[in-house]
Structures are given as structure tokens and as C-alpha cells.
């Protein structure tokens, strides 16, 4: 047969049918190995650590679920969770509203608009640590940018990072500055892929700009908004670099996000098992929350 010259058939004739069954797995092998090594092994190792007691970085004995019990009894853990939730909620809400507004403003085509869009994306491509340093310089009460501006108007230097509330809001503003562009980009893509005709029909039917937004833009954009918010929220939960550089969780515990608390428990207090347990709890919360969001998208999105 002429087909015998194609490689597949050749392989079959030469090495028998057994290879056909194994070949797919051989091909997937490297990828599976990589996932096992980079994702699954650390996960299992982390889970094992979370049930252990450590001394000098070595697990000396297993303590079962003691670390988890400790977490639920630890007020600092609860507080860190609450601070994280507050931070995520405020930052993501503000970013979504701002991002949506900007996307609506800049959805039309034009050279000027294209240039603004390109500029708006810049904050997102700055390394998080650098963003933290920049904002530290802005907020600094002695040589900071805000301080200089205040001096210019004869005012006292604002003490942003030395006050709990203002430090927290300073962190939220940093996050908004850095991540509004992501929401903007996703929502812009969503708006630009909306069908044109229903909006023209709405115009002819007599809907004004606000009615069109409430009746058509928001409902049609909802799946996109949900995706964007979920993505950003999951990521905001793990915010670390900027806080570490800006405040290290202080003053007091006012900006102590769960990632910072976990880091300190692990590296500074050397409580490896406890830190692992706490972060597993957080991971569980994230998985549940995103599962819920995906379910919401599935049911409402169609």
C-alpha cells in the first residue's frame, strides 16, 4: 500500500501496535513531569509541613492538625485575614469602577485614544518591588514627594506611613495605581467585543446614554466583569512585595496582610509548620471563592 510510506504507518509496521498506546503518554511525559515537580510536589510537601513541628528548618515530629487548631485560635491570624479581606475588597472595587469608567471613555477608536491607552498600561509592567519603593518615596514624611508638595503650600508633612489608617489607605492607593490598568484592559476588550446592533436598536428605541449603560452595557458585560474581578481578587489576596517594601505590615498590624503574617511566621519566627497551615487555609478559601465565582459565571453568563 502507498500509505505504508507515511511515518505513522511505518512506525506501526515496524514496532507493533503497543507503541500506539504508549506514544501519547511519552509525548505528554515532559509536561507531566514538569507539573508534578513544580506544582504537585511542593503542594504535597507543603501539606506535609503543615502537619509538622520544625526545629532549625527540619521537621522533628508530626503534630497532626495541631497547627490548624492553633491558627483558628490565633487572634493575629484572624486579624490578618480580616485586613486582607478589607484590602482586597476595597482595592478590587475601586479598580473595577475606575477600570470600567476608563474603558468606557476610551473604547472608541482614534490615534489620540490609542496613545492614552498605551500610556495607561505602564503601571502594570513595573516590577512590584519597584512600585513599593516608588510609593515609599512618595509617602516618606521627610524627603517624600507629598511632603515637598505640602511644604510648597506651607503645610506640615503628611505622616502617611506612620499612622495605621493612612498607611492602609496608602497601600490601597498603591494597588489601585498599579492594577487598575489590568481591569481597564480586560474590560476594554470586553466592551470592544460587544455586538453593535443591540446598542443601535436601543438608540432608535429611545434609550439615552445612562439607560443604555444600565440596561445593556452592564448586563452584556457582566461575564467579563466577573472574570476580571475574580482574576484580580485572587491575585490581590497574595499581594506581598509592595507591602514588604512599603510597610512590612506596620505600623502595628495595620497593613499586615496574610501573606506578610505568614512570611514573618515562617522566616522570622521559624514556625514552619504553623505558617504552612495558615497559608493552606488561605489557599482553600481562594479555591472555594474562585470556584463560586466560576459557578456564578456559568449560571448567569448564558
Amino acid at each position: 500500500m502507498a500509505a505504508a510510506t507515511t511515518p505513522g504507518t511505518l512506525g506501526r509496521t515496524l514496532r507493533g501496535a503497543g507503541l500506539d498506546r504508549v506514544l501519547p503518554y511519552l509525548m505528554l511525559g515532559p509536561a507531566i513531569f514538569l507539573v508534578l515537580g513544580v506544582v504537585v510536589y511542593p503542594l504535597i510537601e507543603g501539606l506535609r509541613s503543615s502537619t509538622g513541628f520544625f526545629r532549625f528548618g527540619r521537621m522533628v515530629r508530626s503534630v497532626g492538625l495541631d497547627n490548624y487548631r492553633q491558627a483558628f485560635a490565633d487572634p493575629a491570624f484572624g486579624e490578618a485575614l480580616l485586613t486582607t479581606a478589607r484590602f482586597v475588597f476595597l482595592a478590587v472595587t475601586i479598580e473595577t469602577v475606575l477600570g470600567l469608567g476608563l474603558a468606557l471613555l476610551l473604547a472608541r477608536e482614534g490615534r489620540f485614544v490609542r496613545r492614552i491607552r498605551a500610556t495607561l498600561i505602564l503601571p502594570m509592567i513595573v516590577t512590584p518591588v519597584v512600585v513599593g519603593i516608588v510609593f515609599r518615596l512618595i509617602y516618606a514624611s521627610d524627603v517624600g514627594m507629598l511632603a515637598s508638595v505640602a511644604h510648597l503650600f506651607g503645610l506640615n508633612s503628611p505622616q502617611i506611613l506612620s499612622n495605621g489608617d493612612s498607611a492602609f489607605w496608602g497601600l490601597v492607593i498603591l494597588d489601585v495605581w498599579e492594577w487598575t490598568p489590568l481591569l481597564f484592559l480586560i474590560l476594554l476588550a470586553g466592551i470592544q467585543s460587544l455586538p453593535v446592533e443591540p446598542f443601535e436598536a436601543a438608540r432608535v428605541d429611545g434609550a439615552g446614554a445612562w439607560r443604555t449603560f444600565v440596561d445593556h452595557t452592564l448586563p452584556l458585560l457582566r461575564p467579563t466583569i466577573l472574570v476580571a474581578v475574580t482574576l484580580r481578587a485572587i491575585e490581590a489576596l497574595t499581594t506581598f512585595d509592595q507591602v514588604y517594601v512599603l510597610t512590612r505590615g506596620g505600623p502595628g498590624t495595620s497593613t499586615q496582610l496574610i501573606s506578610i503574617y505568614g512570611y514573618q511566621t515562617f522566616f522570622q519566627f521559624q514556625q514552619v509548620g504553623y505558617a504552612a497551615a495558615m497559608l493552606f487555609i488561605v489557599a482553600l478559601v481562594v479555591i472555594l471563592a474562585s470556584g463560586f465565582a466560576v459557578g456564578l459565571m456559568r449560571s448567569r453568563g448564558r
Binding site: 446592533e197 436598536a201 432608535v204
Partner: protein, 369 residues
């Protein structure tokens, strides 16, 4: 309902002229079809009436009011889109009732209106569905229902039937026409399908390259085309066009070597130096090949339609379509004669304009500008 007037409408897209000084009046209660090949500017004209596009020059008047600079919502028109443009996230009932909701009609009254309109379009059982659960024909009806629920000054329809299958298209044609007459609604309807235009319109406005070619009742378009383009666009099959030569000695035109005497119409033809004649398939007769004063040809293809037969005949280099009786048949290439009754022919001058119309009943030929 109201009269619609377009005065000297001109539209440029990025410097490309799409419409050129368009003047058009749609009378109160009239059904006007804008007909033309794709890209001729007919949809743009409709969108200008709707207010979805702004003309580069000219004015739009609806019901005696200058609405050129007004937004669509201030024009009080309803539009049916080619893609139906239903609101995908709303139920059928909400879709139909939306124009009333915008106008602040209270919910109970709105529900009654929706039920009434849905009933008249036979979509009452679909009210709780979402648009994506409907077939194309059902979506079309919902779009119509949404348009008629608030008695607007005019209906604008942009190829509303072109996404339906052929059979449904024909039946919806009749329904839309009935609906329009029942509501006595001023309607502008855009299509590229000449059969739709012929069957539905009070008057047809045939547009090509942004210019009106002819604006007349369908029958007049069919019988007295203003130029070669109209002759070729309207009617199925389109009008046959044959090259001719004038013969002053015999007061006749010569087609493919055969002289056809014109009598008293010769003078007008000669004055305009006509170059072509146009004649419909039904005005031609097939004869035996060697009959006198017939055009000699050969059978190119025979197309039996059941009730009648269209025969394409090759005369010289030109193919003409001749209507023959049912059951007429001949082998391909068989020699035949084609008899022309010159009274039913019209004549085009070198620019393609009709200078001499057919003799015949009906309206006098449209006056020349």
C-alpha cells in the same frame, strides 16, 4: 404617521462618496423600498433617516420637522435590523416592551400592550423565552413586534428578511405588507432583492453608486426602466439588451443582421443615436429558424420551470432569454428564430439612458430631466 423627506443628502466616509445629493420623499402611509446592489448606499440612506449616521450635507425632515441634527430617540422612528438586534439578555416580553419602558409606560399597561402586539404577530407563546432560544423567523417577528408596539412616525427596515430561508422569506413578505397596510405606516424598506421590492413596495427607489436611478411604482420600473441599469436589475429574468445598428433607408434597426422596421418611432431613435435595445423575455417569440424578420440564433440552454420555459438563445455573441410555453424543448445548439415585436422594445442611447420607451398601456414614460 408622517411624511419623510430627504433633501440633497450627501454622505462621505473617509473621503469616499457614498451618497450623492439624494432627494427623496416618502408620503404619509407609503411603503417605499430602497433597492440596489450591495454597497450602493441604500443602507446608509436608511441609517441617515434613523439618525444613526449624520449626513455630510443635506436635510432630513420627518413629519415636517427638520430632524437632521437630532438624535435617533428624538426622531420617533422604529427600526428593524437585518440581524434583528434583539437584546440578548432580555426575555422576549422585555424586548418587545422595551420602547415603552424607556417612555415610562407603567408595567401593567406595558404588559397589556406586549400581549396585544405579540398576539397579532403570533408570538404570544414565546414571551418568556430568551432570543437565543428562538429560530430566525421567530426573532424576526419579535423585532417587528418591538417596532410596532409604540406607534412611531415611521418604520425603517434594513434587509429584515435576508437572514431567513427562501420559503419563510416569501411568506414574511406578505405579512409585513399586510401589517404595513393595516397600520397605515410610513415605511422605508431596504433590500437588494428586486423580487421583494416588486412585491411589497408602493414605490421603489432604485439606487446605484449613491445615485437614484429611478423612483417609481414597481410596474413602471418594470415596464419603463429609466436606463439600462434599471432594465438589468428589475425583473427576473432581467431585460434582454441587444446591440443594434440604425438603418435610415428602411427606417429600421438592424439586430444581428435582421432589419426590424420601427415606423414612426424611428425618428426619435435616430435623433438620440441609440445603440442598444431592451426587451423582456415575454415579449420575444421563438419561431422556426428561417422565418423572415426574425433574429437567427441557436439554443444555448433550456430551463423548464414547470409552468413555463425560459430558453436562452445565442444571437451572435449575445445571450437573450426568451419565454416559451411549458414543455417547449430543443436540443442544445439547435437553430431557432427569435421574433421581436419592436413596439415592446425600449432603446438606450450610448450613455445607457432610455430615450425611447416601449409603446403600450399603463403610464406614460417618466419625464426626462
Amino acid at each position: 404617521m408622517a411624511e419623510i423627506q430627504l433633501r440633497g443628502i450627501e454622505k462621505l466616509f473617509d473621503g469616499v462618496r457614498v451618497l450623492e445629493s439624494l432627494d427623496l420623499t416618502v408620503h404619509d402611509g407609503e411603503f417605499v423600498v430602497l433597492l440596489g446592489p450591495s454597497g450602493c448606499g441604500k443602507t446608509t440612506a436608511l441609517r441617515i433617516v434613523a439618525g444613526l449616521e449624520t449626513p455630510t450635507a443635506g436635510e432630513v425632515h420627518i413629519g415636517g420637522r427638520d430632524v437632521t441634527r437630532l438624535s435617533p430617540r428624538e426622531r420617533d422612528v422604529a427600526m428593524v435590523f437585518q440581524s434583528y438586534a434583539l437584546y440578548p439578555h432580555m426575555s422576549v416580553a422585555d424586548n418587545i416592551g422595551y420602547p415603552l419602558r424607556i417612555r415610562g409606560v407603567p408595567a401593567p399597561e406595558r404588559a397589556r400592550a406586549v400581549a396585544r402586539v405579540a398576539h397579532s404577530l403570533e408570538v404570544g407563546h414565546l414571551l418568556n423565552r430568551k432570543p437565543r432560544q428562538l429560530s430566525g423567523g421567530q426573532r424576526q417577528r419579535i423585532a417587528l413586534a418591538r417596532a410596532i408596539i409604540r406607534e412611531p412616525a415611521a418604520f425603517l427596515m434594513d434587509e429584515p428578511l435576508s437572514n431567513l430561508d427562501a420559503k419563510l422569506r416569501v411568506s414574511m413578505r406578505g405579512e409585513i405588507r399586510r401589517l404595513q397596510q393595516r397600520l397605515d405606516a410610513t415605511t422605508v424598506y431596504v433590500t437588494h432583492d428586486q423580487a421583494e421590492a416588486m412585491t411589497m413596495a408602493d414605490r421603489v427607489c432604485l439606487i446605484s453608486n449613491g445615485v437614484i436611478q429611478q423612483f417609481a411604482p414597481p410596474q413602471e420600473l418594470f415596464d419603463f426602466p429609466a436606463n439600462r441599469f434599471v432594465a438589468g436589475f428589475v425583473g427576473n429574468p432581467p431585460m434582454n439588451v441587444l446591440d443594434i445598428r440604425l438603418d435610415p433607408d428602411r427606417q429600421a434597426v438592424v439586430v444581428a443582421g435582421a432589419a426590424i422596421p420601427l415606423g414612426d418611432r424611428y425618428a426619435a431613435c435616430a435623433a438620440a443615436a441609440v445603440e442598444q435595445l431592451g426587451i423582456r423575455a415575454r415579449e420575444l417569440t421563438l419561431t422556426a429558424p428561417d422565418e423572415p424578420t426574425t433574429l437567427p440564433g441557436s439554443v444555448y440552454v433550456v430551463e423548464p420551470l414547470g409552468d413555463e420555459t425560459y430558453v436562452e438563445v445565442l444571437i451572435g455573441e449575445t445571450r437573450v432569454t426568451v419565454r416559451a410555453d411549458r414543455g417547449w424543448t430543443a436540443p442544445l445548439g439547435a437553430p431557432v428564430g427569435v421574433r421581436i415585436d419592436p413596439a415592446n422594445a425600449c432603446f438606450f442611447d450610448p450613455s445607457g439612458r432610455t430615450v425611447v420607451h416601449r409603446v403600450g398601456e399603463g403610464r406614460p414614460p417618466p419625464k426626462e430631466e
